[in-house]
Symmetry: D2
Subunit: 361 residues, 4 copies
C-alpha cells in the first residue's frame, strides 16, 4: 500500500479487477505494473480462470462479488465483464463506496449509463470509462493540438476505420468499431462530443443479419460536420482521421508509424471583413488559399493502458473527473443509440441534444 517513488513514500491505491476473461488480464498486468496502484484481488465466478490470471502473484482470488465489495481494503474496482452486466456491478460497487472503472461500452443503454453517472456524482466517487485509444500518445497529442487552438475553428472531421473485420455475432459494425472514433472525438473536441444530430446509413450486403458497412453523419454546432466510416468488409486496412480547421488541418494516419501525424498550414481563408450579410454577395473573390508548410510532430512511445490506469489514480487522488469520465461514456452511448434509431428510420437525422444532458451537466 506504500510505494517508494523517487525517494519519497507515496500511498498507492488498492484495486480489484472484476472479470478475468478477454480484457481482464490486460488490466491486471497494467495495474500490477503501475506505481500508483496495488492490485489486491481478481474476482471471477470461474475461480480457475481468475487463478490463471493471477499466476504466482500475491493477489487474492474472489468468486463472490458481495464478498469482494464488502472488503474495506479496496479503494476501486475495474469492471471487465460483459456489457449487459456493467450497470448492476458498477451500481453495487458505487453503493459500496468504491471508485469504478468500466470497460467500454459504459453500459448497454443510455438510461443505464445515466443512472450510473448520477450515482457516482451523488456519492462523490470517480466513474471512469476505459476508452483505451484516448490514452495513446497520438490521441493525446491531437487533443493538445486541437485544444491549443492551433487548428483554429474545427470545420470538419472525417474518420475512416475499415478492414477485414470479424463479423460480431451480437453487434453491428457501428457498435463494434465506431466507439473508438466516437470516444476519440469526445476526448478531442472542446466540450466533448455533442453533435446536433446523428444520421446513420448502413448496409448488409453479405446478409450477415446486421450492418457490415456503416456511415455516421453528425452536424456539429457552428456549421461543422463530423463523419465516420466503419466497414468490416474491406481487405485494405485504413485508419485515418482528418480534422480540418480554419487555420490548419491535421491528418492522422494510424497505419503509418513513420509519420502518424501531419499538420498542414494550408487551408481556405474567407475574408469576412469584405462580406455582407447577403449570401449572394459572398463571392469567391473573398476566398483565398494558403499553401504553407506541413510538419509532423514526433511522438513519444508509451502504452495506452498504462496511461489509462495512471489517469484513474490521478483522478481519485486529485478529486477530479478523469479524461474519459462516465459522462464521456454516456455521450458515446447517446450517439450509438441515435445511430441505431436512425438506421431503423431510413437514415433520418436524429436529434441528440436532450434534456438529460442538461440535468447531468
Amino acid at each position: 500500500m506504500f510505494n517508494l517513488l523517487g525517494g519519497i513514500t507515496v500511498m498507492s491505491l488498492r484495486v480489484a479487477v472484476i472479470g478475468a476473461g478477454y480484457w481482464g488480464p490486460n488490466l491486471v498486468r497494467n495495474f500490477r505494473g503501475s506505481a500508483s496502484w496495488e492490485l489486491v484481488a481478481v474476482c471471477d465466478l470461474d475461480e480457475a480462470r481468475a487463478r490463471k490470471v493471477v499466476g504466482d502473484a500475491r493477489v487474492d482470488v474472489e468468486t463472490d462479488l458481495d464478498v469482494l465489495l464488502a472488503r474495506t481494503d479496496i479503494d476501486a474496482v475495474a469492471i471487465a465483464t460483459p456489457a449487459g452486466t456493467h450497470r448492476r456491478i458498477a451500481m453495487a460497487a458505487l453503493e459500496a463506496g468504491k471508485h469504478v472503472l468500466v470497460e467500454k461500452p459504459l453500459a448497454s443503454s443510455q438510461v443505464e449509463a445515466e443512472a450510473m453517472v448520477a450515482e457516482a456524482r451523488t456519492r462523490g466517487l470517480v466513474l471512469m470509462c476505459d476508452h483505451t485509444y484516448c490514452y495513446t500518445p497520438v490521441v493525446q497529442r491531437i487533443r493538445e493540438i486541437v485544444r491549443s487552438g492551433e487548428l483554429g475553428d474545427i470545420l470538419f472531421i472525417d474518420s475512416v476505420r475499415i478492414n477485414l473485420g470479424l463479423i460480431q455475432p451480437d453487434v453491428d459494425v457501428f457498435w463494434d468499431l465506431a466507439p473508438h472514433d466516437l470516444s476519440i472525438l469526445d476526448a478531442i473536441l472542446p466540450g466533448g462530443l455533442a453533435p446536433e444530430g446523428v444520421a446513420a446509413h448502413g448496409a448488409d450486403p453479405i446478409r450477415a443479419g446486421r450492418a457490415c458497412v456503416g456511415y455516421l453523419t453528425m452536424p456539429l454546432p457552428g456549421g461543422a460536420i463530423a463523419h465516420v466510416h466503419v466497414n468490416w468488409l474491406s481487405p485494405t486496412k485504413i485508419r485515418n482521421m482528418v480534422i480540418g480547421g480554419s487555420r490548419r488541418t491535421l491528418v492522422w494516419d494510424d497505419l503509418n508509424p513513420q509519420q502518424r501525424l501531419s499538420v498542414y498550414d494550408r487551408g481556405v481563408d474567407l475574408d469576412l471583413t469584405s462580406m455582407t450579410d447577403d449570401l449572394a454577395e459572398r463571392r469567391s473573390a473573398s476566398i483565398s488559399y494558403r499553401l504553407g508548410d506541413m510538419y509532423a510532430p514526433s511522438l513519444p512511445e508509451g502504452e495506452a493502458l498504462g496511461a489509462m490506469v495512471t489517469e484513474f489514480a490521478a483522478a481519485i487522488t486529485e478529486r477530479r473527473a478523469p479524461l474519459t469520465d462516465g459522462k464521456s461514456g454516456l455521450r458515446v452511448l447517446r450517439v450509438l443509440e441515435a445511430a441505431t434509431a436512425s438506421l431503423g428510420d431510413g437514415g433520418r437525422m436524429i436529434d441528440v441534444v436532450s434534456r438529460e444532458l442538461e440535468v447531468l451537466a
Copy 2:
C-alpha cells in the same frame, strides 16, 4: 472527308465544335488529332475567340448557330457552352439532324435532359455526354474487371474525392465534384447507376453560402451501398475508390501512378448452405475470411479525350449507343437533383426509381 488509314480509304465524320471557351479548345485539339473525325467548323458568338482556337488550321469560323446547323456538310456537333444553354442548342442540333455530344452536365435539370434523350431517340441520332473520366485507361479497366464478374457481386463502393478546391460561385461541392464519381459509377455498374435512394449531407463551415463538404449515400439493389465523399476544404488530396465484391475487392488510388489499381483476392465468405432463414441462426461460424494475393494490372497510356471522340464516331458508325449516352447523363443528373432535394430536407433518403426511367428504358 476521306482519310487514308493503313492503306484503305475510310470516310471520316465531319464535326463542328460549338463554344470556344474553357473546354472547347480541348475538343478542337482532339477532333483534329482523330483519324475518325474531320473538324469542319468552330462556332462562337465571339468571333475573335473562335478564330484564336482555330489558329492557322483550315477550319471555318461561324458566329450564327442557325447558319451552322443549316450546313449540310456537318454530321455532328459538340456542345461546350454553359450548362444553361445545353438543352436549347442540343434540341436545335437534333432537329437539324445532327448527332450531338454535350459537355457535362448534360443539361441543367432532369426534365430538360429527358426531353433531349427522347428527341434523340425519336430521330435515331446519337446523343452523348462527355463524361471524360470514363475514358481514362484506369476506368476502362475497372469497367472490364467489374463487368467480367471477377469481383463477384458488388457489396459496397466507397469513393473519396477531396482536395483544396476552388469554391465555385454558382454550384455546391456536390454539383462540382460528384459528377465525376457518379459518371464513373454509371459506367462501371452493370445497368448503370440506379440507386434505390439518395441521401445527402453537407456542411458549409466557412459560410461560403453553399456546401463545401458533402456526403452522398446511395443504397443499391441487393443490399449493396455506394457512398461518395466530396470536399473542397482538405489540404491533402485524396482520389480513392474501393469497390468491394463478394469474390474480390478493387482499390483505385488515382494519386499513385505506380500502382493505380489493386485487386485483392481477399474478402469475407458467408457459407450460405449452412444458413437457415432465421436471422438469429446466422452465426459467425458460417463466415470465413480469404487472405489471398493481390495483383496490380498494368495500364496502357492514353488520353481520355481522344478515346472519347473515337467512341462518339464509333457509336454513330455502328448505329449504337455510346458508353456515356444521354441516358447516362440523365442518370447522373437524377442523382444530383435527388442530392439537392435531400440536402434541403435534412438528409432524408430520396427515392430515385421513378416512372420516367421506365419510359426511357
Copy 3:
C-alpha cells in the same frame, strides 16, 4: 522427452541453452514453446541470471560448462554467448557429441568458423547458425520464388538497411547490420552467397571511430551484382531489397506490412537470337520492355525464432544440413572479413573465391 502430438507419441529432442544474457531468454522461450524440443537446462556463469530466465519452469540451472556437456540427457546446445567465445564452446560441445546452434556471427573469424564446420562434419553432427531473419515468412517466400525460377536469372540485388541506429562500441556498421542482408542473400541465392569479390566503402563523418555509413559491392557469377547499403545515421528507416531477374523483379519493402512483397512482371528483354558476338552490333533495337502486371503474395503469420528451432530439430532428425548451416555462417563471415580488408585498402575489390571453400564443399 515424449510429446503427445495429434494423438501419436513423438520423441522430442533435449536441448540446453548456454548464455542467459540478451538473446538467451528468446531461445529459452522458443525451445519451451516448441513441440520438437524439451528444454533441459540453462547454463550461465551467473547463476542468478540463469535462474531468472528459467523462472518457475522445471529446467535445470548449470554454471559449469564441463558439467553441462558431460550430461548424457542432452542432445543439443544453443550458444548465446559473446562472439569471441563461440569457437571454444562450440568445439567443446561438438567434442562432447552435441548438435550445436550458434548465435550469429558463427565465430569471430573465418579461420575459427572453418574449424567448427570441419569438426561438425567429421563427427556427423549438426552445426547451425541462428540467422533468424531467414526464418521470417517473407524471406521464406522470397526464397521459394527465387528458387522456383520465376524471376529467371538474377541480374542484380540491391539491399538497403538504414535507420537511426545505436552506434556500437566494438563493431562498425558493416558487422552490425550487414549480417542480416548477407545471411538473407545466402539463403535466397541458389548455391548460397558466393560473390566473385567484395568491395567496401565506408564513412565515419561523426568521428565515432568506425564506419557509420557503409556500401558493399559484390559482383556475382554471370555478370550480376549485389549491393548492400547499411547506415546508422539516417532518421528515416528503410528496409528494402530489390531482386531484379531476367523474367521478373521482386521488391521487398519490410516496413510496409500491407504489401511487403511485390513481384513485377516487368523488365528488359534482350533478343539474343538477333545478336552476334560482336559487342558493337548489340543494338538497342534488340532490347524490348515488358510492362506487365504486378502481384503481391499474401504472407502467413509466424514467428521466425519458432521456425528456426523447428528447423534445428528437423535437421537433426532427418540427418541433413539445416537451411542456415555452419557453412552459411562461414560464407557470411568470409564476406564480412573481405569487407574489412577492402575497407582497409581504399575500397579495393577483394577476391573471396578461395581454396578453403573447395575443401569444405
Copy 4:
C-alpha cells in the same frame, strides 16, 4: 529588343538556338516565353527541321553556323547539338563574342571542357551548362536549405535514380543518368562537387555491351561520403536523395508530389567535449539521439527551363557566373571520366583533385 515590364522599359537580350533536334524546341519555347529574351534565329543544317520548330513565329532560320555567328544582332547562343560537336561550336561562338549556353554534357571530355572554360574566362563571356534539374523548385529549395547551414555539416548524401530505362546505344548508365545527380550535388554543395575520389562499380547482367546498373562512391572532404545508384533495369521507379547532416537530415522523394521534401530534426549527436583524442575512449556514452519533429516545406510551381533561361540572362546582365556555369559542367565531367576510369580498373578509387582545377579556380 525592348520589352515593357511593369511599366518600365527593359532591354531584352537576343539569342539564337543552334540545333533543332530533340531538345532545341524546348529551348525555343522557353526563350520565346521569356521576358528577358528575344529569340532572333534558329540554326540547323536541316532547314526544314528548323522551319518546323520556328512555325509561324517571326524568327530567322539559318543553316550556316558561320553566317549566324557573324551576325551582330545576336548576344548569345544556345547549343543543343550532339555532345561531340559542343566544343567546336562553343569555341566558335565564344570567339565571335557570343555568350554561350550548352546542353549537358558540356563537352565530350574534360580536356575539351577545360578549353571552353578558359576561353570564356579570357573573353569575359558567360559560359553556362544547361543542368535543367538544378532549376526545379525542389532543387532550388534544397540548395537554400543546405547553404543556410540548417542541416549542419553534411555527413552523407545518398542518391538513387532507378527505373526501367531505355538502354542507350552509345553511353552506359553512368553517363546517361548520373549527370542529373552529379549536377544537383554540384549545385547543392558549398564549393561545388569536389570529391576526394571516385570509385565506380557496374554490372551488365543482360549483356547489353555496357553497364546497366551502376554505383558511384565519392568520399567528400571532412569524412563525409556521397553515393549514387543508377539503374536501367528496375521496374519500380525510385528518385530519392537523402542528405544527412549533423543537425538535420533532408529526404527528397521526387515521386511523391504531395511531400517531395522532408526535413527531419533527428540525428545523432556526438558530445565532443567529453571526448579525448584516444579513439578507443570514444564511447557510445558520448553519443545521443535527437527524435524531433519533421517538416515538409511547400514548394512553388514553376518550370525549370524557364528559370534556367532567366538565370542565363541575369548572369549576362549582372556580369557574374550563372549557377550552373562552365566550371560546374566541368566538375560533372571530371567525375564521370573518373567513374569510367575506375570502372576500367576494377573499381579502384580514382583521385580527382587535380592540378587543373587549381588553375581554373
